[in-house]
């Protein structure tokens, strides 16, 4: 509890990754694909759909999966809840680092509940989005 993991290596946000993600979530707005449209709306490059930030949360969360002291069985993990608080959209060309904090661990009815907070910022130090991820690790029963 309260454990803070080291910052992730920078994640470089690519235009094609944003387009691929937009396709996968039926995000039809041209601001996710068309550079001219994104610039006309005041962005430096194409912007990511809101939940794209989950990629950063998962990248940081991998530290938990890899942490042997946690011993988490990934196939038993079910997503309990998710919150994003945005300072601004994620833009292609961003280099993002994520610092993960374990906010809460509890156990109820044979299942484990885990809340992590992920502070995502650019390598230059600009805050971009804060993410809270709630996971349920289902018991063997």
């Amino acid at each position: 509890m309260g454990r803070v993991y080291p910052p992730t290596p920078p994640y470089e946000v690519g235009r094609e990754k944003i387009r691929e993600f937009a396709d996968a979530v039926c995000a039809t707005d041209p601001v996710h694909r068309d550079l001219a449209e994104a610039r006309a709306r005041g962005y430096a490059d194409v912007i990511a759909p809101p939940t794209f930030a989950i990629i950063l949360s998962q990248q940081a969360g991998q530290q938990l999966v890899d942490d042997q002291t946690f011993g988490m069985d990934y196939s038993r993990v079910v997503h309990g809840g998710q919150t994003f608080r945005y300072e601004r959209p994620i833009v292609a060309g961003d280099h993002l680092v994520t610092v993960m904090t374990v906010e809460e661990i509890s156990s109820r009815a044979g299942h484990a509940f885990l809340t992590t907070r992920h502070e995502v910022s650019t390598v230059e130090g600009e805050a971009v989005v804060t993410i809270w991820t709630k996971l349920v690790i289902r018991g063997e029963g």
Binding site: F21, P50, T51, S75, G81, Q82, Y86, R138
Partner: protein
């Protein structure tokens, strides 16, 4: 946006192919989203959709409702019931509804979202805070 305004429902059809596409795009390769064998071995009825895919589709509905005139500043949900996606061409149908709940003191507007599949509520306490641009 007037408090009480109900937005038109948005419907999304989610098939196994969509789950594979989302897994690849997001990097979430948890086998409960593509393997019936693993899904049933951990007590699920079968392969289920990524909660984040449902959340993304609901977010897409919000983006459609508010257009380019507002920005989502906060977005949160619980995952109430899993969306079981059968291995056929039809998959599962997800219906998203939304209502303007209230105007907050900080100038944002709260939109409450409901999402159902086969009549079951799949998102709990889903809401987006949006700000006019």
């Amino acid at each position: 946006m007037q408090v009480g305004t109900e937005f038109p429902a948005q419907t999304f059809q989610v098939t196994r192919a969509d789950l594979v596409r989302y897994a690849g795009a997001s990097g979430d390769f948890n086998p409960i989203h593509w393997s019936d064998r693993v899904a049933t071995s951990v007590g699920l009825p079968g392969v289920i959709a990524h909660g984040m895919l449902t959340m993304a589709l609901a977010g897409q509905a919000v983006a459609c409702w508010i257009g380019g005139t507002a920005a989502i500043v906060e977005y949160s949900t619980r995952f109430a019931n899993p969306v079981v996606v059968p291995d056929d061409d039809k998959g599962a149908e997800i219906v998203i509804n939304g209502v303007v709940k209230k105007q907050l003191d900080d100038g944002t507007t709260q939109i409450d979202i409901t999402a159902t599949c086969r009549g079951d509520k799949i998102l709990g306490a889903a809401r987006a805070l949006v700000r006019a641009r």
